[in-house]
């Protein structure tokens, strides 16, 4: 991620440019120029022609403004769209959108014979195919797409590794089959099936899946009279240069009147969840599944029988929000984290007023010229390390264990994939081994969330340093 995916950098550049214009008060008069500036001479180009490039950039800008690309009017002017974004009172209920102009419309996932095929005498491919879909003609094997069932046996059988699998990356990344092709071959996301894990965002090599950002509304709110309080997820460590206290200081410098650690709420979640677990065990419940990952909570609803096992303990964000409301009545609360599904949790619980990803926070820093590495450290409360540990896989189970409950047998689901969802289905039938199932949708934990700035590897070096 990051450096090796230019689509990610392109999105960040647009976020920075939009945030800068919004901050300077020129969004509604200058935004129209953005696709032209970003296609000026000397800029890299990715598409067939500059017109297509601009059309896609325009759609990306619309997503950054918080609009659904699927519903846009082709003729909408960016300056007008900016006015609309500036006036918007809340985000869309479904936070993802597909930039169909950018979507390549990849051919359906399939196996194909490459020109490495030697037309050998063995005919291993043909002989391995349960469907009789392979013919060898003119010294070369070919697969009949009509009858092929994508089993992949021919690929394994070929002694020359001449058969390859061409996936549809976004569909392959989706653990719940929510991403499928529409009649035009472009991808669409089923909002009812989608669990908002955000895997498709990073998986698409064309950057066609985007989040509808709320960044313009937050820039506006920062200039309003009503005070703002930031609730910052513990995964923020390493997302920016400088220490944790400096990152908090930089957020404070943006104009938030207070900056709270969600880790504080995480301590409450752990304590509450430990009690819930102990009660469940006493009354013969097979296991308790954690509930702090909103993508998992969404996914759990589609697993028959799982509902009875998912913890009803509020998430760290919710606990942190309640404390912040008491401390600052009347303030607007902004959750800052790496998570797409939190956008929806925020709407569903109505506990916070807006969600900002780390990428979007970075855009605000750049727009305001705030150097995080030079920022004045913000005084952080002393915490037990367990709350911050929620950001990493294993951290929630560790925090529950640290409350002193006995007999805990944790099972860690480190990343929601088709495979791990199958294991969770086994659990729902009461056939699992562990009695506390910690589920995190992202491999590695929240530090791997779709709205992160740096790779997990870099984030973890910061964690190691801070722990010393």
């Amino acid at each position: 991620m990051s450096l090796d995916n230019e689509a990610v950098l392109l999105k960040r550049e647009i976020l920075i440019r939009v945030a800068t214009l919004a901050h300077e008060g020129t969004l509604t008069t200058q935004l129209r120029k953005l696709p032209y500036e970003m296609t000026a001479a000397g800029r890299p180009s990715y598409r067939c022609c500059v017109h297509h490039e601009r059309a896609i950039l325009r759609d990306r800008v619309l997503a950054v403004l918080g609009s659904a690309i699927e519903e846009r009017d082709e003729s909408v002017d960016l300056n007008e769209a900016a006015v609309e974004a500036w006036e918007r009172t809340g985000p869309d209920a479904f936070p993802l959108t597909v930039v169909d102009e950018a979507c390549k419309g990849c051919v359906r996932s399939h196996f194909t014979v490459t020109n490495a095929c030697q037309g050998c005498v063995a005919r291993s491919c043909r002989n391995s195919c349960p469907q009789g879909s392979i013919v060898v003609q003119g010294g070369r094997a070919s697969i009949d797409p009509e009858t092929c069932i994508n089993c992949g046996k021919c690929q394994e059988a070929c002694p020359y590794h001449a058969i390859i699998h061409l996936p549809v990356p976004c569909e392959e990344a989706c653990p719940v089959g929510a991403v499928t092709k529409g009649p035009d071959g472009k991808e669409t996301i089923d909002p009812d099936k989608c669990i908002l894990c955000g895997r498709c965002i990073g998986a698409c090599p064309f950057g066609a899946v985007m989040e509808k950002s709320d960044v313009v509304r937050i820039v506006r709110a920062l200039g309003d009279d009503r005070p703002l309080v930031a609730l910052v997820a513990p995964s923020v460590l390493g997302q920016f240069p400088g220490t944790l206290a400096q990152i908090y200081g930089a957020i404070h410098a943006l104009g938030f009147i207070d900056v709270k650690e969600v880790a504080e709420g995480a301590e409450q979640t752990a304590a509450h969840e430990a009690q819930e677990w102990a009660h469940g065990q006493a009354s013969g419940q097979a296991f308790l599944a954690t509930s702090c990952c909103p993508a998992w909570v969404r996914a759990s609803r589609a697993i028959p029988g799982m509902g009875a096992f998912v913890s009803t303990t509020p998430s760290p964000m919710v606990f942190a929000a309640r404390a912040a409301r008491t401390a600052h009545p009347g303030a607007q609360l902004v959750f800052v984290g790496p998570c797409t599904a939190k956008r929806r949790e925020a709407l569903d619980t109505a506990e916070v007023d807006a969600v900002l990803t780390f990428e979007e926070l970075g855009a605000l820093f750049v727009a305001r010229g705030i150097e995080v590495g030079q920022a004045e450290p913000f005084p952080l409360k002393a915490h037990r390390p367990e709350g911050r540990g929620f950001a990493l896989s294993g951290g929630v189970a560790a925090a529950v264990a640290a409350t002193g409950v006995t007999g805990l047998k944790p099972e860690l689901i480190n990343g929601l994939t088709r495979k791990s969802l199958n294991l969770l289905k086994v659990y729902a039938k009461g056939k699992g081994q562990g009695n506390l199932v910690e589920v995190m949708a992202c491999e590695g934990g929240c530090v791997a969330g779709p709205g992160k700035v740096c790779s997990v590897k870099v984030a973890l070096t910061h964690w190691d340093q801070e722990a010393k």
């Binding site: 960040r12 000397g42 920016f240 240069p241 995080v372 590495g373 030079q374 740096c454 790779s455």
Partner: protein
């Protein structure tokens, strides 16, 4: 006593000869991909360790200058590497060390 003095001066000479690599850790560079350069020092070939001095630097002021060069920036000696990646920095160093 004499021996010791000789060793120290050798170290000093080496330090002077070292090529300085300054990785920008300003916010703009960091957010636009520079984060991945933070462990650059560890990824360099071991044989270069005493010939190259890698350090983080506050904003190099290149992100604010007009022109087409894009972040993240790394300064290798006097040379500016734009859109820097580990591979690009290694290539620049290889030329200087050759």
């Amino acid at each position: 006593m004499n021996d010791k003095r000789r060793v120290i001066s050798e170290v000093e000479v080496k330090a002077m000869d070292r090529i300085s690599v300054r990785v920008c850790s300003g916010t703009t560079c960091y957010v636009l991909g520079g984060s991945e350069l933070m462990d650059l020092a560890r990824t360099l070939p071991p044989g270069w360790r005493d010939r190259v001095q890698v350090e983080g630097a506050p904003c190099l002021d290149l992100c604010r200058s007009p022109g087409q060069a894009r972040p993240p920036f790394v300064k290798v000696g006097d040379r500016v590497v734009a859109e820097a990646s580990v591979e690009k920095v290694v290539a620049a160093l290889r030329e200087l060390l050759a």
